[in-house]
Structure formats: C-alpha cells, structure tokens
C-alpha cells in the first residue's frame, strides 16, 4: 500500500509538472524562511544558557539611589566582588571582569587594535566555562602578565603561527599567551571579548585606587551560587552584608544615598534593558518576537498555498477517488493515500529547503549580525520537534481537504461523465476554503509590506532627523591612552592640520555624539537645599561647540579670552537646566569631583545619543583639569565636503609622526550615528526580503487557483460568449471574483497592522506618524499584483473559441 501511495504521488507530480513545481517551490520557500528564522531566534533565546550550571550563575548589579533618583548599573565597584566572596556564604565561586577598553597591541613589528580587553580573576573560567582551544582553564590566568585571547584575535595577530607562550606587547606591559578560547561556541553576552589579562597583572596603584570607593563602578562581577540556593536568598545575603559594610561607609563619606544589589541570572542578561552601562552583546526581544511572527506567517502562507493548490486539483482527482471506492477502497484507505501523498510532497519540499538553508545561511547571518549554525541546531532536540511540527502542519494542510472531503464522495455521481456540472457530488469543492485562504494570504502580504514600509520610513526619519548638530563631514579619532605628552601632541596635531585647506575645524572632547557618555556626581543647590545626582558629563575644548554647530542659548561657550574657564566654568544643556530647576542658570554654582565652579552657558538640546531615548541632561567642562583623564580622548575634525580621502591622508601623515607606534583609529561621525539604528536596519532588510517572498508565494497560489477556477468556468464562459459578451466583459467577470477577495484581505489586515505598528513606534522617543496614504498605496499595489496574476488566465479564457468550451459537454 505504501509503495502504491508513493508511486501514485510521484507519477502525479510528473504529470502536473508546472503545478507541482509551484507547489513544491512555494512550500520550500516557506519552510526555508521558517528554518532560517528559527535558527536566529533559537540562537538569541539560548544566549548564556549553554554554560555549565547556567542556572546557578549570576551577575551582581549595583543599584545606586541618591535623593529620589535610582540608577541600576550593570556594574559593581571593584572591591565588592572580593568582599562578597569572603562574606556571603551562598557564594561557591566568584570572578570579576574589569574593562580596560580599546588598546593597541604589538607583535612581530605589527600593531593591532584590540577592542575588548579585560582584566579577569583567575577563577573566571570556573564560572563561565568558555571552551579552550589550547591552555588550561584552571591555571591560564593564575600568574601575572598572562593573557587568554579569543580564537578570532589569535588568528588576527598570529595567523598560522602557534600563539601559545608568545608575548603580546601592550602600552605598559607584555603578556604571555596562556590560552585560546572559543568565544562564540556557546552563544553568550561576552562573545565580543578579545583578550582577558590576569587580574594579578593590574598595577598596584590602579588596584588601590579602585579599591577605595564603593561608588566607583568599574567591574562586571559574576558568581556561582551553591546548589539549592535561590536568588532571593542570595540577594538577601549580599544586601545584608552591604547593610553592614557599605551603609556605614556612605554615612562616613556624607553621601546621602542607598546602595542595593541585585543578582541577575546570567541567562537574563541578553534581553535585559533595565540595567545601564551594560556594554555587552545585547538582543532585542521585540525583534525576536517580530521575526518569530514573520516566520509563522510565512509558513502559514506557504501552507495556505499548498492547501489551495491541492484543493483545486481535487476536482481532477475526484474521478480517481470514485473508481477506487468502487473497486473497494474504504474512506480510511483513501484518506491515508491523500495524506501520504501530501507528506511525500512536503518531504521533497523539506529536502529542497535544507539545501536552500545551507546556501542562504551565511548571508542571513551577515544581515542579522548573528552566528547561527544548522549543524549546531541539528544537535538540539527542540530543532527536530520544530521540524516535525512544521512538516506535520504542512502535510496536513495539503492532504486534509482531499483526505476528509474527497474520501466522502458518492462515487456514482462522479463517474457519470456529466457529473461535474450537476449539483451533486462536487458542488464547488473547497471554493469557499480557497477564497478564505486567498484572503488570509494577501492579508498577511499586505501586513508585511506595510510594516516594511513603515519601518523603512522610521529608519529614514531617524537617520535624517534634525539632531541639533552637524554630523556630516566630521571624522573622529581616538588618541592612545597613557601618553604623557598627549597635550603637546594634540596641540601639534591641531596646528599641523589647520594648515590643510580641506580641514575646516579641529576640536577635542571626551564624548563623541552617538557614543556612551561619562557620568559623575554633581553637587548643586536645589530650592535652597544641597543636592547631589549623577549627571552625564563630557570634557570638551574651546572649539567643540563650534565644530559640531551647537547653539548657545544663554551665556557663552568656553573661551580662551577667559583665563579662569579651565578652573571654574561649566556649560550645560537645556535639559540639565530643567533638571536642576534653573530658569536662569548663568552664574549658579555647580560642583563635581573635578572642579567647583559656575555655569557660564547653556547650549540648546541636541541629540547626542540615539533617538530611541529622549535627551538627557549633560554637563561640559574643559579638559586638562588636574585629576581628569587628560586632554580629551577624542579629536573631531571637520573637513570640506567631498575631501574625506585627502583629509585622511593628511591626518595619517601627521599621526604617524606624532604617534608612530599606534594605528589610526577613526570613524566618520555620520556612519557611526547610523550604526545606532543597526537593529532597525536589519529589521528592514529582513522584512523586505520576506515581503517580497510573501507576495511571490501568494501570487503563485493565486496564479494556480485562477487557472483552475477559469478552467472550471469554461462552459459558463463559452455560453456567455455565444450570448454576446465581449472580451472585456468576460475578463471583468473573472477578475471581479478575485478583486473582491483582495479587497477583503486589505480591509482585515490594515487595522491590525496599524495597531502593531503603533505599539512598535511607541518604543521610540522620536517617531513618525503612521501614514494613511501608505496603507492605501499598499492596497492598490496588492490589487494590481493580484489582477496582473489573474489576467493571464482571464484573457486566455476570454479569447478562447466558445465552441470548444461547449463541446466539452
């Protein structure tokens, strides 16, 4: 029996090559998309779940409350880790990461920019068991001046050479490579790590400075709890210790605030948006959900298509069913046959889609900044469950109508040759089902096309929104840290570059728009009371405001004409003035760890961060203050439009002379700001592809459906023609049937899509209004596509010889 089922399935496929190909392709396209998205979603959802004892690994986050403001940091101060390990019984092991940041490294005469460098406690790999390619996780970080590097970095620095035991030179020290780790094998939030130096390598002075202050947040603190300890218990123990140690310390240092610790399961880090300064690889749950929905929709469309095509073909299969029934087949046997055929076709589509997934995955990974692998997923049980569910759904979709409707037919009505036109037996087999399916398919297509368009518009808006400063034609350079002659070199650079006619401006500052700001505690008087709050801050030189085109709305910017500015001047933005409750801020006192001074100017609010969020308060002060990190870590250079290449040549020349041992690290401001919306960009790209796919699949289905529908109406069309209908009238009658369906689908899809887009846009502080005209445009487009698809058949039917149609009977 199985052999017969497969035999008929195969031969049926061959007999109807066009329809079979359309069916298989449509299904394969849906399945492929589904699998690609599954791989992406699976990777995203499995972040940090692959660690050994993952359910016992936590990151400790410090929440600081000063006055009414509460700031939850993804960091702790440096010594918290050491003390928790000693004083909290629930802790089995603990390790910290101290972010060093971007550094230049040298090996064999070549220099490299290494982005993510950390100091790490020697117990680090006891907690987060990164797989080692070489080296021993237990001892790799136990000695000073040792470093464990990522496979990626090893490849970059050493190429084919053996890295173990080699020395990598950094600015102050050289480190021996004691281990190489795979950072992406277990999807994790620290996958961008490049180099982990042993904590014992940290300079004693730095260590001392770090250890003095519970409010200086610098470290990522990870711990593994003992078996059986719950999160609440852990948090209580840590906070009890904090109450005993930190609360008195705060009082001693006259800090009016509270410190609370949260234990965050490491598995929860990836999608978390609550903690700030979380500079690790983050995902966006909304997008994961959206992608999952898109996958479901695509599969549904593909299945609807499949269902439609098999249902339409049922008309042709009815005779076969009747003969088999007469020959003795039971309903069950026939149902099994149709389901068997359907699963067979589904299997072929599935095999095709596996090949397509292999082909498309690298490109898809690139678009989505992901690292999914089909092979890895094949080892996971839930992938197979997903595949099985998908295939069952598809198989049922294709086989259920013939299996459960056709199998019930009265055979004799069908076998009389004029049975098709009587009312019995085959009255409109699945016509209503087919119509519902077309409505659903086009509805989904309209929804996805509209969503793509709106996301694109929002992205365009974000990229082109007036930011309050001029981001075009500006390049940013970051100076190497630790250079004692930096101030002089910066001046020399300024003077040299000013000679270049293509250089229109040169400024230095700590903060570059689009990058993270610093944040320190400020003391001020608020309605007569002394207050203190952490506020965003940046060092900025005399030319910073003019280079960026910031508008000064009250007072002035820093000026060389005022010799006291470096010691006692602050400039704030409008949001800061509101935050400080100052209508007239000029002259008011403001104090920080760096200087005690007065506000000399207010700049108009400008979007120095992503447009996802509203503008936060910001304070500026001049660099070069004793105790501050130096002249300012970045240079901003404005160049003449179109002259970027020439200017970079000059810049590199000057740089080589001043900083011969460091590569030039630069980026263009406008490109960097675009990166803030990378996730939206990914969404648009992926949605666009899927929008095209949904339209193609829907049209394929509509094409085949129209073919069958028209064929079924051959007699009717023939009679109408003989009665005098024109070609246009026939075409209109046929089109009308499908136009109504598409209109219905638009009417249903539009409000639902509106609702979801509204919710998505609410995530942005700056957003477009959803354009009604776009919905109308999409509707017209859908109608146009549908008509174009159907008109081929309509025209053919309308132009055919009516006699042929009538002879059919």
């Amino acid at each position: 029996m199985l052999k017969q089922i497969l035999l008929i399935s195969w031969r049926t496929l061959l007999r109807n090559r066009l329809v079979s190909s359309i069916t298989i392709f449509g299904l394969a396209a849906g399945i492929t998309s589904c699998i690609l998205i599954f791989l992406f979603v699976d990777t995203e959802l499995s972040f940090d779940k692959g660690w050994k004892d993952a359910d016992r690994i936590y990151r400790v986050n410090e929440v600081i409350q000063l006055q009414d403001k509460q700031d939850p940091f993804a960091l702790t101060s440096f010594i918290v880790g050491e003390e928790i390990k000693k004083n909290v019984p629930a802790v089995e092991d603990l390790a910290r990461l101290y972010l060093i940041g971007e550094q230049t490294a040298w090996y064999d005469g070549k220099n490299f920019t290494v982005e993510y460098n950390y100091f790490a406690d020697s117990s680090f790999f006891n907690i987060l068991n990164f797989p080692f390619v070489q080296g021993d996780p237990k001892t790799a970080l136990s000695k000073p001046k040792t470093v464990v590097i990522s496979e990626r970095l090893a490849q970059q620095i050493f190429g084919a050479e053996e890295p173990m035991g080699k020395l990598i030179r950094y600015a102050r020290n050289s480190y021996t490579v004691t281990g190489i780790i795979k950072t992406t094998e277990i999807p994790n939030h620290l996958c961008d790590v490049d180099a982990l130096m042993s904590m014992s390598s940290m300079a004693p002075e730095t260590r001392q400075a770090m250890s003095a202050d519970y409010m200086q947040l610098s470290s990522l603190t990870y711990l593994k709890v003992k078996s059986g300890i719950q999160k609440a218990s852990l948090e209580k123990q840590i906070n009890d210790w904090s109450e005993r140690v930190i609360t008195p310390w705060l009082k001693e240092n006259q800090l009016n605030g509270k410190v609370e610790f949260h234990a965050q399961l490491v598995q929860d880090i990836h999608f978390d948006t609550f903690y700030i300064y979380d500079l690790v690889r983050k995902g966006n749950k909304t997008y994961v959900i959206i992608f999952a929905l898109v996958a479901v929709f695509l599969l549904l469309i593909a299945c609807f298509n499949y269902m439609n095509l098999t249902t339409a073909q049922a008309v042709k299969r009815a005779r076969e069913v009747a003969v088999k029934k007469v020959a003795g087949a039971s309903r069950g046997q026939l149902a099994r046959q149709f389901l068997g055929e359907s699963f067979f076709l589904t299997l072929i589509a599935f095999l095709l889609s596996i090949a397509l997934v292999e082909l498309l995955l690298p490109g898809f990974n690139q678009i989505t900044d992901n690292d999914s692998s089909l092979l890895d997923s094949l080892q996971g049980g839930h992938f197979w469950i997903f595949i099985l569910l998908m295939l069952v759904l598809a198989g049922l979709a294709g086989g259920s109508y013939p299996a459960f409707y056709l199998a019930r037919l009265q055979p004799m009505q069908v076998l009389r040759s004029n049975a098709m036109s009587t009312g019995k037996g085959l009255k409109n087999p699945g016509r209503s089902l087919g119509k519902i399916l077309v409505i659903l398919q086009f509805g989904i297509s309209v929804a996805i096309i509209t969503a793509t368009g709106v996301v694109l518009m929002q992205l365009h808006f974000l990229r082109n929104h007036e930011l309050g400063f001029d981001k075009e034609n500006v390049v940013s350079l970051s100076f190497p840290a630790g250079d004692t002659a930096l101030a002089y070199k910066v001046d020399a650079m300024r003077n040299e570059l000013k000679k270049d006619p293509n250089v229109l401006g040169f400024a230095t500052g700590y903060h570059v728009p689009g990058k993270k700001t610093g944040r320190i505690l400020f003391y001020y008087s608020f309605h007569g009371k002394q207050e203190n709050q952490p506020i965003n801050m940046s060092f900025a030189d005399y030319d910073y405001a003019s280079l960026l085109g910031l508008k000064v709305v009250q007072g002035r910017w820093f000026s060389r004409d005022f010799g006291t500015d470096p010691q006692n001047a602050y400039v704030i933005n409008e949001s800061c003035a509101r935050f400080l409750g100052l209508k007239d801020p000029i002259g008011k006192e403001l104090e920080s760890a760096f200087l005690k001074g007065r506000i000399i100017g207010v700049v108009k609010d400008y979007n120095y961060a992503s447009l996802h969020a509203a503008i936060e308060p910001m304070v500026f002060m001049l660099p070069g203050i004793p105790g501050s990190p130096g002249t300012g870590t970045n240079a901003l250079i404005r160049f003449r439009e179109g002259q970027s290449k020439e200017v970079m040549k000059s810049v590199e020349q000057v740089w080589k002379n001043l900083f011969p041992n460091h590569p030039v690290n630069y980026f263009f401001l406008n490109e960097s700001l675009d990166q803030l919306y990378r996730k939206e960009e990914i969404m648009v790209t992926v949605l666009s592809y899927f929008a095209v796919l949904t339209v193609v699949i829907s049209c394929l289905g509509l094409f085949a459906l129209a073919a069958f529908s028209t064929e079924k109406r051959t007699k009717e069309i023939g009679i109408r023609k003989v009665m005098g209908a024109s070609v246009q009238q026939i075409v209109f009658i046929i089109l009308k049937e499908f136009v109504v369906l598409v209109l219905l689908s638009i009417v249903i899809a539009a409000p639902l899509t509106w609702y979801f887009l509204r919710s998505w846009l609410d995530e942005f502080s700056y957003r477009i209004e959803i354009p009604v005209w776009f919905f109308i445009l999409t509707g017209i487009f859908a109608l146009f596509i549908a008509c174009a698809t159907v008109i081929i058949h309509a025209a053919k039917a309308a132009l055919s010889n009516p006699i042929k149609a009538l002879r059919y009977e």
Binding site: V323, V326, A327, G328, A329, S330, Q333, Q410, R416
Partner: protein, 230 residues
C-alpha cells in the same frame, strides 16, 4: 437466487424538487444469469444498477443479496459486501491514468488485502487470459478504447466476484470492439459469474438470457432471450 428486490423505490430530494427514479421495482436474478436492462434515457437504469451494486441505498423496499438483506446496512457494511462480491465495468472505462495496466487490474486485490505474491499470480493469470500481458506496463493513455475496456473488464473480475455490473460497457466502442467485450462478458458468465448489464443496444442485449425493460422507474416488460439453467 442471487438478487432479490421487493418494492424497491428511489426518490431523489433537492431543495424544491422530488424526483422518483425507481418506483416499485421487483426483481429476481439467479446466480449465473446474464440479464440486460434497457430503457430510454432517464428511466432509472443506472439508479437501479447503483443500488444493485450497493453504491447507493434505496429509499424504500427490500434488497436481498446472496441471502443477506442489505437494505438496512450501513455504508461500511455495504462496501464490505461489494468489495468481496461485485465487479464493475463502466462506459467510459474509468481507469486510473497514473497507474499502468497491471496496477489498474491489481487495484481491487489491494483493497481486499491479498499479499503481493497472490496478487501477482492473479493479475498474471488475467493478463494472459485477456491477451494483454504484453501491455502490462503501459498506461491507459497509450491504449486504444477497446484495449482500455479489456483492462477494465480484467479489473472487474480479477477478484472473482459473484456478480459483474456493466453500465453500457460498449457505449464508447466501435462495433468490433463492442463485440469483443460482449464475448468476454459471455465467457465470464458461462464460467459462473452473474452479469447484469445496462445497454442501449438491442444487438448486445441479445447476448443476455433475459432483457428487462424499464420505463419511468418501473419494470414494464421482461423477455427471455436464451434459456437459462441455474
């Protein structure tokens, strides 16, 4: 008596119309008989054949087949009896295009659940007998009308049924092929199979033992053509 009907009626209901297709049909057919049913279009011949073949149920009346009253049986039970006892031949052959000659003939045996070897033996026998063994692997589209009907006849009796119902078996054939089919049916009948045939052709009706005339759903006459001994 293989077939006995008493006061058999069949009424078709649609939303507005009631059509009486058979009205008080009393029929007896012995095992081994060859009966032809004739009558004008729409007189109920095919309806009667459907009911005799248990493809349809009567609205009222009795139908006893091989001693069993089948009038009140469920579809499933009727299908079971049909499968084991009745073969069908149609005017338009009704072969399955996706199956070759061998597979078409094998079809009833598949549904009877016979094992592969038994099926092969029986089909081989029939192919030989029908002299179409050389066409075993061909598909219906590759055969002439006469050959297709021969395949259909083979399919009808491969399961060795007690009864063969033929609905205008020569209607789509030329005279030569038509004669050929009638010869086959006669042969089958002579080997013991009861044959009930609906036909428009008076010439072909002559092959039967008895000809029953239907008109407006009633039997109006019965003529003996040849002597029949049970």
């Amino acid at each position: 008596m293989l077939i006995q009907t008493q006061q058999l009626c069949k009424i078709y209901h649609t939303e507005e119309i009631e059509t009486t297709s058979l009205n008080d049909v009393n029929l007896s057919i012995s095992e081994g008989e060859f009966v032809a049913i004739m009558g004008p279009s729409g007189c109920g011949k095919s309806t009667l054949l459907n009911i005799l073949g248990m493809l349809d149920a009567s609205s009222s009346g009795n139908y006893v087949f091989a001693g069993t009253d089948v009038s009140s049986l469920h579809e499933k039970q009727r299908a079971e009896i049909r499968k084991n006892n009745i073969g069908f031949i149609f005017q338009s052959f009704n072969l399955i295009d996706e199956l070759n000659v061998r597979e078409n003939i094998e079809l009833p045996l598949l549904y009877l659940g016979l094992d592969a070897q038994e099926r092969k033996n029986r089909v081989d026998q029939v192919l030989e007998h029908m002299q179409i063994a050389h066409r075993a692997k061909h598909f219906p589209q590759q055969l002439s009308g006469g050959q297709q009907q021969r395949v259909a006849v083979s399919r009808a009796f491969v399961s060795r049924p007690k009864l063969i119902l033929a609905d205008e078996p020569t209607g789509n054939l030329d005279s030569r092929n038509g004669e050929e089919v009638m010869r086959l049916l006669t042969e089958l009948n002579e080997s013991g199979t009861t044959v009930v045939m609906v036909t428009h052709s008076p010439d072909h009706a002559e092959y039967a033992h008895r000809v029953i005339q239907l008109f407006d759903g009633r039997i109006v006459s019965e003529n003996l053509k040849r002597s029949f001994h049970a």
